[in-house]
């Protein structure tokens, strides 16, 4: 299978990454009963004969010997990465996949990007090449990071640049956790806006995530379970927030539930590239169909269902509910309401026992209540993957290129301006080699331009529609 190579950068990135590897193993174990190293596994894992050391030759077929994750774990503090290396997933990684330092980035994008970036560039390139060498066919890089801090934000976007320089043809997907208004890192607006410029210019697709949304989902699930409204029991391993059945069940940590949601997002996103189905949907297809103009590459994601009930018989009414939920406000992974904004494009990736007629029925049903841009009235990209996620008989990942991302960006801009006008904390950044005032002005300008593009699109919403006249040819 084509390989998707995740880079977990920074504390948040590595915490999510850890959940991702864990749940990926769980997912593959559920379908791969015989312990054979198959095409699906090869997307995320190498099969290594460790008798000749961790750098042993890859074994491409036959029984699973020792699985190594295809990944780079980068952090300028050791805490999270060390925990991973001491935890149940330690055998997935070897030292050649890690880049760590001790003092952290002090929640300073400039430290992450300019200081550590410069310092570790060679190391990053070398390890990147080594990792890529082991891949038959590299389709996509994933960066998993947060925007508000220093390492994930600064060094993470530095890595993004390196990826573009070294492997310009490989797609760059970024999963970015955006800070909320109440974020306790004061300088998070600076870090986020500086990082946004990099995402605008160097990412192929960005999946923004907001902690508030993850938090709301976790709460909603807790409420549903404790209120007893669900009647029969919920299948524990089906919860989008759950680590059940994975290696980390015993040692669940505070943010695990929220991070599991992001991990599940990535698993669903790559499911059709790994597993078979009647209508495959690769990552390069997602980029192709959902990005009509280069800079408009921010995709709002939603995952349904959030859990499955233990009773097996799911009438098709429930299936349709899954589609409805995908468009509801409280299933989105950012604080946004796509239904009341303008769609540029929408992708539906369905897993499990769902057929094309179910897809069509629901698209027909939901279409009238959604607003699509005039030049893409039927803009749906669909995929059918036969293998459902663990604990479910079917699931749906919706990705929307929708103007509802705009508020996230305008609020970020507002928070940035509040600090910037007073020049608060600027000196922490400007004294880093390579940082100048222009970095800030260019970054806010980039963000403003992006917001303006969304404004222009929004202005067309609901307006009169005149189709351009067709080509006239001589008869």
């Amino acid at each position: 299978s084509p390989v998707s190579l995740p880079f977990a950068v920074g504390q948040c990135g590595n915490q999510v990454g850890c959940r991702f590897w864990d749940l990926a193993l769980r997912e593959h174990a559920a379908v791969n009963k015989k312990g054979i190293y198959d095409e699906a596994l090869s997307s995320f894992f190498r099969n290594v004969d460790t008798r000749s050391g961790n750098d042993g030759p890859g074994i491409y077929k036959g029984k699973i010997c020792s699985l190594k994750a295809r990944a780079l774990l980068i952090d300028m503090e050791e805490g999270v990465v060390n925990e991973i290396l001491q935890g149940p997933l330690r055998d997935l990684f070897d030292s050649k996949q890690l880049i760590t330092d001790v003092s952290g980035s002090g929640n300073n994008w400039a430290v992450g990007h300019k200081l550590y970036g410069y310092q570790y560039r060679e190391n990053i390139v070398e390890k990147l090449r080594k990792t890529a060498e082991h891949c038959d066919c590299l389709q996509c890089f994933f960066i998993i990071h947060s925007m508000g801090g220093g390492t994930g934000s600064g060094l993470g976007t530095f890595v993004l640049n390196v990826l573009e320089d070294e492997f310009p043809e490989v797609y760059r997907f970024v999963t970015s956790v955006y800070p909320s208004g109440e974020d306790d890192v004061i300088t998070s607006p600076y870090n986020s806006v500086l990082a946004m410029k990099e995402l605008n210019e160097h990412a192929d697709c960005v999946l923004p995530i907001e902690n508030e949304s993850l938090f709301d989902i976790v709460n909603k699930i807790h409420q549903m379970i404790s209120s007893g409204k669900l009647g029969s029991t919920v299948k524990q391993n089906s919860l989008v927030t759950s680590s059940t059945g994975s290696a980390s069940t015993v040692q669940e940590k505070p943010f695990d539930a929220m991070n599991n949601i992001v991990a599940n997002l990535l698993l669903n996103l790559t499911s059709s590239a790994r597993f078979e189905g009647s209508l495959n949907m690769d990552l390069n297809e997602i980029s192709m169909n959902l990005v009509p103009f280069p800079r408009l590459h921010y995709l709002v994601s939603s995952l349904t269902p959030l859990y499955t009930l233990a009773d097996v018989n799911v009438p098709s009414r429930r299936l349709d509910q899954m589609f409805s939920d995908a468009f509801s406000r409280d299933h989105q992974l950012i604080q946004a309401d796509p239904k009341h904004s303008l769609y540029l494009a929408c992708a539906l990736l369905v897993r499990g026992n769902v057929q094309v007629s179910d897809l069509r029925r629901n698209i027909e049903r939901l279409k009238p209540s959604l607003h699509f841009v005039s030049w893409n009235q039927e803009g749906w990209k669909t995929g059918l993957c036969s293998v459902p996620p663990v604990g479910h008989s079917h699931s749906l990942l919706a990705l929307a290129n929708n103007t509802c991302v705009k508020p996230t960006f305008t609020e970020l801009k507002d928070r940035f301006m509040k600090l910037y006008k007073k020049k608060a904390h600027l000196h922490h950044y400007l004294h880093i080699d390579g940082m100048e005032q222009s970095c800030f002005s260019e970054a806010i300008s980039s963000l403003s331009d992006l917001i303006e593009e969304y404004n222009e699109l929004d202005a067309t919403k609901g307006g009169p529609r005149t189709d351009p006249s067709r080509l006239q040819i001589a008869v």
Binding site: N284, M288, N289, P292, S357, R360, K381, D467
Partner: protein
């Protein structure tokens, strides 16, 4: 003569497998309501056309499987082999890992040239296995990146390498409301390019087949497999052996050539539509009887009224009265919904085909004026029943069947092109705005030609 099938992309490979399945299952099924001798004759003709005997225990399909990602081909090969009745040649396939990303330019400009040699070598090998090569049958969807883009490129290569062979492209028209967002761009680029190298395009529309599955086959949860099986049945009804001449002693040996000769008198008109009746769930077959007059009447009205299936036919539509003094384009006699034909082919299979009256299809008012109605209409027959249907009638039509779908796709693509949306994804791989304009121009020409029939 043998046909080499080239299966392109996910759709092409999934359908291809169902086609060989349908053909095999037809041949091995009940003895076809005819004499043993007839049946054996049919069996032999079918074998020669689609399969190679070789040293293997089961017949080997004459096919080349091409895809830019490995999962579908892998599945296709193994499912075929499991049937026990036939299989593919294990070496006759080519795949890559990356896919084409639904990008026509990627399929056409990057994968095409890059893999041309390997793919054409496989085709050459299959062609050499044939005692006599009757031509190529390619199966592809227009919506994606591989079938469409690489498919267009491969068709061009086939034309260059085999200048005197017949090439028939089986093209799948995607659902109107998206499978792929850029499907209209991909479709426009595919159709305009195929038009240059192909002899004819035989089209199946997903929306239409879906309706057949829902309303005629009574399938509740319709899968792509269901859709593909209906398509395979319809294709089988065209390509299984028939007698092309009245009183013919042998099954026709040149199906593609015969098809082109009867249906494509002019290179400007290559769009062929297909109708097949009756269609019903297998378990209803035993309880149904049909009469030829009834079937022929329905098929003719489906042609005239451009009905996509045998339910919901508009019986009000009638052909224009001839002998009007007004020129056709100003004729108030010409009903708006009437489907004008250039040429039609009716294929009858099963009981009592020799006695069927097809005079109604020779009515000159059905056709444009350039061809003699005798030449514009042809019929192929065989007493050998097809796929458990006691009587089965197919219509392959070069008419205005596809005018509206074509116009719709071009319109939507043009609308999107005007905003320049997604164009950067194509220019990245070498297809420029100019190339789009050329394609639009070519298709507007085709639309215009079919409109003024």
């Amino acid at each position: 003569m043998s046909i080499v099938t080239v299966q392109l992309g996910q759709c092409g490979n999934q359908i291809g497998r169902e086609v060989f399945n349908a053909i095999c299952s037809d041949v091995h099924g009940t003895h076809g309501l005819c004499s043993k001798k007839e049946n054996e004759s049919y069996h032999d003709a079918c074998k020669e056309r689609f399969f190679c005997e070789e040293e293997s225990e089961v017949p080997v399909a004459r096919a080349v499987l091409v895809d830019m990602e490995p999962k579908v081909i892998s599945q296709t090969l193994s499912v075929a082999a499991r049937s026990g009745y036939w299989k593919y040649d294990d070496r006759s396939h080519f795949c890559q890992k990356q896919g084409s990303g639904n990008n026509w330019a990627n399929g056409y400009s990057v994968h095409g040239p890059r893999h041309k040699e390997v793919i054409m070598n496989l085709v050459q090998k299959e062609a050499e296995k044939c005692d006599r090569l009757g031509g190529f049958f390619t199966i592809m969807s227009m919506a994606g990146g591989t079938g469409s883009g690489l498919g267009a490129f491969v068709t061009q290569c086939l034309r260059d390498a085999f200048p005197s062979s017949f090439i028939l492209n089986h093209v799948i028209w995607p659902y109107g409301t998206g499978e792929v967002i850029v499907q209209n761009y991909n479709s426009v680029l595919t159709l305009s390019h195929l038009y240059q190298s192909s002899d004819a395009l035989l089209v199946h529309e997903n929306d239409v087949i879906h309706k057949i599955c829902a309303q005629l086959m009574n399938i509740k949860q319709i899968s792509f497999r269901d859709v593909n099986q209906v398509i395979a049945h319809q294709l089988g009804s065209v390509f299984q052996p028939t007698y092309t001449a009245e009183g013919g002693l042998r099954y026709s040996r040149n199906p593609l050539g015969d098809l082109m000769e009867t249906l494509v008198p002019h290179p400007e008109f290559k769009m062929l539509g297909l109708r097949n009746i009756p269609q019903m769930p297998e378990n209803s077959l035993a309880y149904s009887t049909f009469s030829w007059p009834g079937l022929i009447k329905h098929l003719r009205q489906m042609l005239i009224a451009n009905a996509k299936m045998e339910e919901g036919i508009d019986w009000q539509v009638q052909p224009p009265r001839l002998g009007s003094s007004l020129p056709p384009s100003h004729s108030t006699n010409r009903p708006l919904h009437f489907n004008t034909s250039i040429a039609n082919l009716v294929i009858l299979r099963g009981k009592d085909t020799h006695s069927v009256d097809l005079g109604s299809f020779q009515d000159p008012s059905l056709y444009t004026s350039w061809l003699n109605p005798r030449d514009a209409f042809n019929a192929w027959k065989t007493p050998r029943a097809f796929n458990k249907y006691e009587k089965s009638a197919s219509l392959v039509s070069n008419s205005q069947f596809l005018l509206k779908p074509l116009d719709s796709v071009v319109g939507k693509a043009w609308n999107m092109f005007a905003s320049k949306a997604y164009i950067h994804q194509y220019t990245k791989f070498g297809i420029e705005e100019e190339d789009f304009l050329d394609s639009f121009t070519a298709l507007e020409q085709v639309i215009s030609s079919y409109t003024i029939l």
